[in-house]
């Protein structure tokens, strides 16, 4: 390759052809343009007229120039010009090459660009016949040098991890370094890290080191805090720079329970600032539904801040017994409770019957002994559906008969009459201290201040179940806090008062922490280590390096102190962790983290992504030549007078289309309207276009076969089926969509999902067919299955169940027991029957008057069984021999039943009412 500055040529000798241009000029100029033969009646008048000069019309100089340019463009284009040719510098060398990747969350944002750069690097290495090894610092493995071509096939699968390389992983990386000399290419994520120097020294000892760093700005989010009545979010950027603005989106569940962007707010970085804070004021109800904040357009785990209960403020209703000691605030049974809860919870005041409809998370009954039967029923129902009833003892409770003889449903234990006083003026003994909390107590791990003492309490009646209900006890073993589960909720009793009358507990910080542990209040900010000590947290969702949420069902639990303090790693992924009664988010960026750009020594060459790409120009030049030649055609026509009138306009338009934008030559389908008419004149079955030609064709043939079957057997007379492009076509014309799933079909856009959900809500039906009934057993996993899950996740699909034996699909037209297609494998899933469907005596079917199931999901490849060519011959073999034909017949019957179900709804199901109706009409 010959280089001329930023331009290089692969075949520079061809440029000599440019020398021929002047000769061409002379020749072209000498040759007159070909004459036009033209009919003209007035030729009689022309006879005898001689031309003034015997030289023909010369080709005008500008037309010649145009042609010269075209020829020159062809010559230069064939010479293979390349813009920004890659000099053989960065990956120069011959020995093995080690690619070191930080592979942390910080490199996820431009991972695609990194892969491209790596691909280019490997291409060059392959050209130079070098072997290449790969080392990911977040997950170091022993390096094996392989040929660059083999490595190229692997880079697609190399993914970043949602944590950063730690000192420990770098140690392992050092140990994993191969023997011998090699050059290194370090793809850095750009963050400063102490462990870099050590590794850099080790790499430099083996050969030259080139560092690759993306100049892109890296953004990260701190966890959201709730302060001063608003959500505070701080964003970081890696390098200070000019004023810039990023958009923050808050995502959560909309009122219908679907994920949606709930709030969007700009964050402005001042010039030279690396952090920016924004304040988002949200109503409490909306705040509680937030699940994550992220920086729009940033694809890294660092730019995601998952929210946990710290944003969510629980609603606590405080109810006290009669306040007969008016004015003595410090003695009020609720004083310490409201002081403890105020910063973190919404307090509700009012009568019990008034606060119950607000469905608070917690109701605190401080020394309330008896409830009216109506109140008791209402509270019991509320507790059973998940409420938490927190009771405090007191003189009134001690004096009452509640839970004396039999266990009260709203009391965790039976109480002995009177209670006891220890360490008072009239008693012997010292006030009792609290015993350390048991392992299985929710308070396990909380430090007990020595000055917390209890002087009076109500006593629990010894009982076989008592031991299991005690979650805190005094040093002498008497229960202090007891708890029992009621339905989905729980009842907790503090055997002391909520004020300082009976104990000093409410005066201590322990009281607040105990309330936190009970999830009466939620902690502010990150859970602190001692707060979390001794607890185990189960991950609910974890983030990958790109900030995508993954299910974490299979991951082990994490100890509370690790969750708070340990650095992220393979054992502690960023994500949302659930404890006993609350959730804590562990984000990539802690509250005090900062982004610090990495500093490399002068001697290390640092490359950026922004290096101009090697751009071959041949194509452009030859296209230019073609365009010039097209212009030449028009110009020649115009010159010779063949281009007049409307033809000129047409030619100009054609030329513009031809040269400027060939993609517009694919005219937009302007037959939308006729398509709509065709789709609505008759019933039309439709299939979703998957982009796989073979599948689409088979789906069309299948629906054609089904349409024919319907036509001949039933009064449904469908027209020819249509393919539907989810992105562009209107869906509401079609009662039924057949959707074959291929493993690699694209995920529809948001707009398409909106359309699909609208379609499903308004009575459309989609038959999903994973076409893998031969290999996938129930519960098995195939690529199609996984794709279906991804595709169907945003769809508004009701709970599903395998088709019950009495489902209306089994009898809309034919009586069917199973639903084979080409395969007779898997279950068919339909919308679950409502739980209250009941079997009426003497009726064969349950009383189901619900809607048409919006989705039917299966994998029996029905389209293949239905597929029929124009002559009515089956296109795909099913089974073998007579049995196979029988299976095909049943498949057709299933199709008929399905379409009947779509078109007639639950008409057949309604027939169970026929006897009753006849009865009413006749006799």
């Amino acid at each position: 390759m010959t280089l001329f500055g930023v331009l290089g040529f692969t075949a520079p000798w061809l440029l000599l052809g440019l020398l021929a241009l002047p000769i061409l000029w002379v020749i072209l100029r000498a040759v007159p343009p070909a004459p036009i033969r033209r009919r003209f009646p007035g030729v009689a008048l022309l006879l005898g007229l001689r031309d003034d000069e015997q030289v023909s019309d010369r080709t005008p100089w500008w037309l010649l120039l145009l042609r010269m340019l075209a020829v020159a463009a062809v010559i230069v284009g064939l010479a293979g010009p390349v813009l920004n040719p890659q000099a053989e510098d960065s990956a120069g060398g011959t020995g093995p090459l080690l690619v070191v990747m930080d592979a942390s969350w910080a490199s996820a944002d431009d991972w695609r660009a990194r892969q491209t750069a790596l691909d280019a690097l490997l291409t060059r290495a392959a050209r130079d016949d070098r072997t290449v090894g790969l080392l990911r610092l977040t997950e170091p493995e022993t390096v094996r040098f392989q040929s660059a071509d083999v490595m190229r096939t692997r880079i697609e699968g190399v993914l970043p991890n949602p944590w950063e390389p730690s000192a420990e992983t770098v140690e392992r990386a050092l140990a994993a370094l191969p023997e011998g000399a090699f050059d290194s290419y370090w793809m850095s994520d750009g963050l400063a890290r102490d462990s870099r120097d050590q590794l850099l020294a080790a790499l430099e000892a083996r050969g030259t080191v080139t560092v690759f760093e993306s100049p892109r700005s890296l953004y990260a989010l701190e966890p959201a805090r709730f302060e001063d009545g608003a959500v505070q979010i701080t964003a970081h950027r890696l390098r200070p720079g000019p004023v810039s603005e990023v958009t923050l989106t808050g995502q959560g569940l909309d009122p219908a329970g679907n994920p949606a962007v709930l709030v969007r707010s700009p964050v402005t970085f001042e010039a030279d600032a690396t952090t920016a804070t924004t304040e988002i004021a949200l109503p409490a109800e909306l705040r509680a539904r937030m699940t994550r904040f992220e920086i729009e357009g940033s694809r890294s785990a660092g730019a995601v801040a998952l929210t946990d209960d710290s944003l969510r403020r629980r609603e606590v209703a405080l109810i006290a017994g009669r306040d007969d000691r008016e004015g003595l605030e410090l003695l009020s049974p609720l004083h310490y409770l409201s002081r403890a809860l105020e910063p973190t919870a919404e307090l509700l005041d009012g009568a019990l019957t008034d606060v119950l409809p607000a469905n608070p998370d917690v109701i605190v009954l401080a020394d309330v002994a008896t409830l009216s039967p109506g109140e008791r029923d209402a509270v019991t129902e509320w507790v059973e559906s998940g409420g938490m009833l927190l009771r405090f003892a007191g003189p009134r409770l001690a004096a009452s008969d509640v839970g004396r003889d039999a266990e009260d449903p709203l009391m965790p234990v039976r109480l002995r009459a009177g209670g006891r006083s220890v360490g008072g003026a009239m008693s012997w003994g010292e006030p009792k201290a609290i015993a350390p909390f048991d392992e299985d107590s929710p308070f396990h791990g909380l430090a007990i201040p020595p000055d917390v003492t209890v002087s009076s309490q109500v006593m629990a009646q010894p009982d076989p179940s008592l031991a299991s209900r005690v979650i805190a006890q005094l040093a002498d073993g008497t229960p202090l806090v007891t708890r029992k589960q009621v339905g989905q909720g729980q009842v907790v009793l503090f055997h002391v008062t909520a004020n300082a009358d009976w104990s000093t507990l409410p005066l201590s910080g322990l009281f607040v922490r105990m309330l936190e542990r009970l999830a009466v209040s939620s902690s502010v900010g990150e859970g602190e280590a001692q707060d979390l000590e001794g607890t185990v947290w189960q991950p609910v969702t974890v983030l990958d390096a790109f900030g995508r949420e993954n299910e974490a069902d299979t991951l082990p639990g994490v100890a509370g102190e690790d969750l708070a303090n340990a650095p992220l790693g393979p054992d502690l992924l960023p994500g949302l962790y659930e404890g006993e009664d609350r959730a804590v988010a562990r984000n990539v960026m802690g509250g005090d983290a900062v982004l610090q750009p990495a500093a490399w020594p002068e001697r290390i060459a640092v490359e950026g992504l922004s290096r101009p790409q090697e751009t071959p120009l041949s194509g452009w030049l030859i296209a230019l030549a073609l365009a010039l030649l097209a212009a030449d055609i028009v110009a020649s026509l115009a010159l010779s007078g063949r281009l007049r009138g409307p033809r000129a306009g047409l030619a100009a338009i054609g030329l513009a289309l031809l040269t400027l934008s060939p993609q517009y030559a694919q005219a937009q389908d302007t037959t939308d309207e006729s398509r709509a008419v065709a789709a609505t004149t008759d019933v039309v079955l439709a299939h979703v276009l998957t982009g796989d030609e073979q599948v689409d064709e088979l789906a069309r043939a299948g629906l054609y076969g089904l349409s024919q079957t319907l036509y001949f057997r039933t009064s449904v007379e469908p027209a020819d089926p249509m393919g539907v492009n989810l992105e562009t076509d209107e869906l509401s014309f079609f009662p039924f969509l057949y959707w074959p799933i291929t493993a690699d079909q694209p995920i529809p856009s948001d707009a398409a999902y909106a359309k699909l959900n609208e379609y499903l809500r308004s009575g459309g039906m989609i038959l999903f067919d994973t076409r893998d009934g031969d290999v996938a057993d129930f519960g098995g996993d195939t690529p199609e299955n996984r794709r279906l899950r991804q595709i169907a996740a945003p769809l508004d699909i009701p709970p599903l169940e395998p088709v019950p034996a009495d489902h209306v699909l089994t009898r809309t037209f034919y009586l069917l027991q199973d639903f084979p297609g080409r395969y007779a494998g898997r279950d068919l899933w339909v919308e679950a029957a409502p739980p209250d469907a009941e079997l009426v005596e003497g009726m064969p079917f349950r009383n189901l008057n619900d809607n048409v199931t919006p989705v039917v999901i299966g994998g029996n490849d029905w389209a293949s069984a239905w597929a029929m060519d124009e002559n009515g011959n089956p296109m795909v073999p099913v089974g073998s021999g007579f049995g196979g034909e029988r299976q095909r017949e049943i498949a057709y019957r299933f199709g008929v039943n399905l379409v009947m179900h779509v078109l007639t709804g639950n008409y057949k199901s309604d027939q169970v009412h026929v006897p009753a109706l006849l009865d009413r009409l006749g006799n």
Partner: protein
């Protein structure tokens, strides 16, 4: 044999299909001109009232209009206008040069010429005149049948590039209409006009030209061919010929106009991009207005 008759029949049908179209167009065009019977503006044999005049010696009593005379003491004779049928003879150029249109939106010259001629024939026949063709083929007659025959004969196509006017069989003191582009040799035209003038025939020359023939919008190296293909002229720079061509055309028009003036004819040049109606009106006025 069968094929021959079939072909003949097919051709005949194709040909026949054209008459009604031409006829219909011509009828429609003629309908736009509303005209009555044109009297001779003097007393004579006819149906229309001309004037009452006092009885003169020599008048037969039978001629006295009793109704008018009874109103006074004088006797009056009712005179009628002298109406006489005029013979109009048409010659429409059938030469190949007429089959030319510079643009597909324009009619060919021959189409325009036939249409105009047929329309004026319809008008004249409705006005009571007798219309025919020059030459012996179709002598002037009246009636709708004659219109159909005219349409048929006008639809013939000639082979020669430029046709010469048919000057034989011209009735003395008849009217004549020559429609052509007059781009061929002018000698026969001159001869025909002279011969007509000798016989007391007057009439109108309608020159039908295509706008391209008037403008000569050609450029570059061109071989011009006549429509019949018998003549060709090659030029290297068509644009340069324009001025001289236009001079020749103007000279030719001038010659025609002079010739017409000398022989008492009317001359008009019509372009196919103008409406046929203007040509028709001019033609009709030229024939009608030439009456005494």
């Amino acid at each position: 044999m069968t094929a021959d008759t079939a072909l003949l029949r097919q051709n005949a049908q194709e040909e026949a299909a054209r008459f009604p179209a031409l006829l219909a167009r011509a009828e429609q065009l003629a309908g736009t001109v509303l005209l009555g019977e044109h009297g001779r503006r003097r007393a004579g044999l006819g149906d229309d009232f001309w004037q009452y005049r006092p009885l003169r010696a020599g008048d037969s009593y039978r001629h006295i209009d009793w109704r008018r005379s009874a109103r006074g003491d004088d006797q009056f004779v009712r005179e009628r206008e002298w109406q006489v049928a005029q013979s109009v003879q048409l010659w429409v150029d059938q030469g190949a040069s007429m089959r030319f249109a510079s643009d597909k939106d324009l009619p060919t010259k021959s189409h325009r010429a036939r249409l105009t001629a047929l329309a004026v024939a319809i008008l004249l026949i409705r006005g009571g005149e007798r219309v025919g063709l020059t030459g012996w083929e179709l002598p002037p007659r009246r009636g709708n049948q004659q219109i159909a025959r005219l349409a048929e004969l006008l639809s013939d196509e000639g082979v020669d590039d430029y046709a010469a006017p048919e000057s034989r069989g011209m009735l003395p003191h008849a009217r004549a209409i020559f429609v052509s582009d007059f781009l061929g040799n002018l000698e026969p035209v001159e001869g025909a006009l002279t011969k007509a003038a000798d016989r007391g025939v007057r009439g109108a020359l309608l020159q039908v030209l295509d706008p391209a023939e008037e403008a000569f919008p050609y450029q570059g190296r061109t071989i011009f061919e006549s429509v019949g293909g018998t003549m060709a002229h090659e030029t290297l720079k068509a644009g340069d010929l324009r001025g001289r061509y236009l001079d020749r055309l103007a000279e030719r028009k001038d010659r025609l106009a002079r010739l017409a003036r000398l022989t008492g004819w009317h001359y008009h040049c019509h372009h196919t991009d103008h409406g046929a109606q203007s040509a028709l009106l001019w033609l009709y006025r030229a024939i009608d207005g030439s009456h005494g």
